[in-house]
């Protein structure tokens, strides 16, 4: 089921700054989209608006081309998993899952046996077949989350909205449930929107990332495109550790202010003027000193992680981290200059293309 959000606007009562300012978003059928951004960026606000849980002052939300008015219009079509799971505490896991079916008017409600069978199916799907009789107070965080997901899926919605669903889980459970969720999405043919503040999680699970800041969408792209050409300095920094080198673009070459950083060629479309080169630590190269040249840069090792050896070097008063593929040697490195030719260029916070 496709989701179209157009020019959505929401104001907090008594404040002039909008929570959402003219947000438009197109999510095609069976896409997995992650909404990321710092806290207060409006991710959850947008998700709740899509679900119809909060009123909005302008714009529309449509599902499969149909404009949705209020929550009741979306009831049963949209599965929502809350950050605190919002399980009904006085019902067993099975009754929680069955809730959406139990409350249907008698004419449309499946028989008791059908409902119980559906609950069994969902418990099976969530890999918690024995927990149907347990009350939420007795379940662990991961189990509660699976029950909440099963409850959201019981009525067979085509859209799944997840608000920071992994927030309260420990890292190991988090990682396993993440890939399992992606698998579930593919198997059930859902259209999923996931809100998270963890960019790594988003890159891992979603096929499209929507970065939000101050109630606006800053960039909406695939993980690869986002990494290759971030639209703003903020996106570049938000997606991972980044080092910036201010400098000037002069006749097709970027000349960093730091003399130990080598100038590099930039596309001809970039006009002259000051700019900032931003680069990931693993893209920085240390240029070895030529014979007779003095090695001015000394990099100290800082251990190894994820196949990269981490180094820190000091240049012009600030420290620059950089990573090299792990090669088994753990000693200080020396070099004459830094090669940052793989950096992206930004001017006034925006990418220069």
């Amino acid at each position: 089921m496709s989701i179209e959000v157009s020019a959505l606007e929401r104001f907090a009562p008594g404040r002039r700054k909008p929570l959402l300012s003219k947000v438009s978003l197109d999510v095609p059928d069976s896409a997995f989209v992650a909404l990321v951004g710092p806290s207060g960026a409006g991710k959850t606000t947008l998700l709740r608006a899509i679900a119809g849980l909060d009123p909005y002052q302008g714009g529309t939300v449509s599902l499969d081309g149909q404009v949705m008015k209020d929550v009741s219009a979306r009831a049963g079509q949209v599965g929502f998993v809350f950050q605190n799971y919002a399980l009904f505490p006085h019902m067993t896991a099975a009754r929680n899952i069955a809730f959406g079916l139990d409350i249907l008017p008698a004419a449309r409600r499946p028989t008791r046996e059908r409902i119980n069978e559906r609950v069994r199916e969902l418990l099976e799907l969530m890999q918690i077949p024995d927990l149907g009789g347990a009350y939420p107070a007795r379940l662990s965080g991961g189990q509660r989350q699976r029950v909440a997901l099963a409850r959201a899926l019981a009525t067979g919605p085509r859209v799944l909205l997840l608000d920071e669903p992994f927030g309260a889980l420990d890292p190991i459970v988090r990682r396993s449930i993440r890939s399992w969720l992606r698998d579930l999405h593919d198997r059930l043919g859902l259209t999923t929107i996931l809100v998270t503040h963890d960019q790594e999680e988003a890159l891992d699970v979603a096929d499209r990332i929507v970065v939000m800041q101050d109630g606006q969408i800053v960039q909406d792209a695939s993980p690869v495109a986002l990494d290759r050409s971030p639209a703003t300095e903020f996106v570049m920094e938000f997606l991972g550790e980044a080092v910036s080198f201010p400098g000037d673009v002069r006749s097709g070459r970027m000349v960093p202010h730091d003399p130990l950083v080598q100038p590099f060629a930039v596309p001809e479309t970039v006009v002259d003027g000051s700019a900032v080169a931003m680069i990931r630590p693993y893209e920085i190269q240390l240029v070895p000193a030529q014979p007779g040249q003095e090695a001015l840069l000394k990099a100290a090792p800082r251990g190894a992680r994820n196949g990269y050896r981490h180094y820190v070097l000091n240049s012009a008063g600030h420290s620059i981290p950089f990573f090299l593929p792990q090669d088994g040697v753990d000693h200080a490195l020396e070099g004459a200059a830094l090669d940052v030719s793989r950096a992206r260029l930004f001017r006034d916070g925006l990418a220069c293309l």
Binding site: V71, A75, G76, F80, N84, P89
Partner: protein, 282 residues
């Protein structure tokens, strides 16, 4: 029991001052609670079993007990919806002046009961501000059982609100949203997602308000009219019997009141526990 006393005698406890504090607590509870209550159990039989049996065959006493229990139950039951609404408004409503309302709710607890009794009697008397229009409609509040119920509702409301409020505050607002998104109609949200998890709290509130209603004296006697067999409450009858120097009669009523209240509170406690099975953690 044996182990308990052994523990009392042993001194190698991790908790410093464990024995001292345990003895103090037991002594305190014994003097203030157990001693008076056990006196109440023993005293009725001191004038002989025959006197007690005669006292127990008193129609007026049973009428008074019935008035007390039925009015207290009715008042507590009426307080259920009002208490729930008030607690709801306090927790979820962003109403202006809710802090003042919050303070006002506890006022019946602080007010001398005689003051609230006289106030209610004045308001509801046939020529009072509320009594006059009501009596024109044919509803007589004061000087009959309805008056007793009104007075008991007044004193019982804080117990109901204070029992519900914290539990309601702990229920996340998202429960209602989740139910709505799953397709629940507003009344289904109310009954299945709000009232159902509040049931233990509602039972507790009912039990507290009911227990208070049985023992209430000051606020009731001014509005009740106190006609024997009709609107006479058991606590008042105890005072009447004492003034007649009929100690056997007075203690007989007290004994029944004590046992009945204890049974009701036990029942409420058991019901609460049953209803709150789900809240037990692993």
């Amino acid at each position: 029991m044996k182990q308990f006393f052994l523990a009392l005698l042993r001194s190698n406890r991790a908790l410093p001052g464990y024995r001292l504090s345990l003895i103090t607590t037991l002594l305190w509870a014994g003097l203030l609670i157990v001693l008076p209550l056990s006196t109440l159990l023993v005293r009725p039989w001191q004038d002989g079993v025959a006197a007690m049996l005669t006292a127990l065959r008193d129609g007026r006493m049973f009428a008074a007990l019935w008035t007390s229990f039925s009015c207290a139950a009715t008042a507590a039951a009426c307080n259920l919806p009002f208490g729930l609404m008030l607690a709801w408004a306090l927790v979820r409503g962003q109403l202006p002046g809710r802090h003042v309302a919050n303070a006002l709710i506890d006022l019946p607890l602080a007010l001398p009961t005689a003051v609230s009794g006289i106030t209610l009697a004045t308001l509801y008397s046939p020529n009072g501000w509320l009594g006059a229009p009501l009596s024109r409609l044919g509803i007589l509040v004061s000087y009959n059982r309805l008056g007793i119920v009104v007075a008991l509702m007044f004193v019982g409301l804080p117990f109901m609100v204070r029992a519900i409020e914290p539990v309601l505050r702990d229920l996340p607002h998202e429960l209602e949203e989740a139910a709505q998104l799953l397709g629940a109609k507003p009344w289904q949200v109310f009954t299945r997602v709000i009232v159902a998890p509040l049931l233990p709290a509602l039972v507790t509130g009912f039990g507290l308000a009911f227990a208070r209603g049985i023992g209430e004296y000051g606020s009731v006697i001014f509005i009740a009219g106190n006609q024997p067999f009709r609107s006479e409450i058991a606590p008042l009858l105890i005072v009447v019997r004492l003034q007649e120097f009929d100690y056997a009669g007075a203690t007989a009523i007290a004994l029944i009141l004590l046992v009945a209240s204890l049974l009701v509170l036990l029942l409420v406690g058991m019901m609460r526990k049953r209803l709150a099975l789900w809240s037990e953690r692993a």
